[in-house]
């Protein structure tokens, strides 16, 4: 089970609301490589993972992604707090505002609502861990793209922190893949699902 810790993993303190920034950063809430997808990917993959160390990595990284989801939500909340419908409209967020007002609804920057299609769970050690390695890199690229478009240091600071965590998670999934491969049959490295093909 989970316990909620009443603190952010890293502080978010934004002085100036900015709907233009919110409009792109929302992709890390409900987009294809966002934190909601990340958390659900790892926390659902862990059940079919046969190795204890890797179950631990998926549990702990998945849990951290929930903390990142909360940080992104805090960034979006602070970026849109107190904005008038007029200011939302100027940033092109009127099409979001009409359905969700200032509520936080997980969508991609394109407006497409969050979809479980973003979450790969194949039930196969090699397939799932390679999915995870790619996912961490894709999230890192999204944060790089956000940093290319955002100037405010108050926003850049927590985004840079989140970007750094993608790199660390990539390293840990590299460890996980190595642990998994150490347990696999070396003659049948890539085609072997230890849960079925004994």
């Amino acid at each position: 089970m989970w316990i909620y810790d009443k603190k952010l993993q890293y502080p978010v303190k934004i002085k100036t609301p900015n709907a233009n920034y919110a409009k792109i950063i929302i992709s890390q809430l409900g987009g294809p490589d966002g934190e909601l997808a990340a958390s659900q990917r790892y926390l659902h993959q862990r059940y079919s993972m046969p190795y204890d160390k890797v179950k631990g990595i998926l549990t702990d990284v998945g849990t951290e992604e929930l903390a990142h989801l909360e940080m992104i939500a805090a960034i979006l909340y602070q970026l849109t707090k107190g904005l008038s419908p007029e200011e939302m409209k100027r940033a092109g967020m009127d099409i979001y505002f009409v359905d969700h007002t200032a509520g936080l609804y997980p969508i991609a920057a394109s407006g497409v609502p969050f979809d479980m299609k973003y979450v790969g769970v194949k039930g196969d050690v090699i397939a799932d861990l390679n999915e995870d390695l790619a996912a961490e890199q894709k999230a890192r690229v999204t944060y790089d793209n956000i940093l290319r478009m955002v100037d405010d240091p108050d926003v850049r600071d927590p985004i840079k922190y989140l970007r750094q965590r993608e790199l660390v998670h990539y390293q840990r999934f590299g460890d996980a893949l190595r642990i998994a491969q150490d347990n696999l049959d070396s003659k049948n490295f890539y085609a072997y699902n230890p849960s079925f093909d004994k």
Partner: protein
């Protein structure tokens, strides 16, 4: 319930201690939900205090005897016991 209690007896001490932790945890969570809406209710606050202390004792006993329940309470500096199975979703853990 009977079946799961029997399995849990078969597991020995870890299983029965875990059952007591789950019961205390549930009692505490239930009163916490109530307190969210009635934060000054004296009776609920007293219930919370009593069960909070009992849960803390049981969790410490579990931690010392069987290992960590969260990543923040690994026991000893020789090994990261956190990754030792069974994990909670496995039958042997219940």
């Amino acid at each position: 319930m009977n079946t799961s209690m029997n399995n849990n007896m078969a597991n020995g001490g870890a299983g029965s201690l875990l059952r007591r932790i789950q019961a205390e945890d549930f009692a505490l969570y239930e009163v916490a939900l109530y307190l969210d809406a009635y934060p000054t209710n004296k009776k609920a606050l007293a219930f919370y205090e009593e069960h909070r202390a009992r849960l803390a004792e049981l969790k410490e006993e579990y931690r010392q005897k069987y290992g960590p329940l969260t990543i923040y309470d690994n026991v000893g500096s020789n090994e990261w016991q956190w990754v030792k199975g069974p994990w909670p979703w496995e039958r042997e853990a219940n």
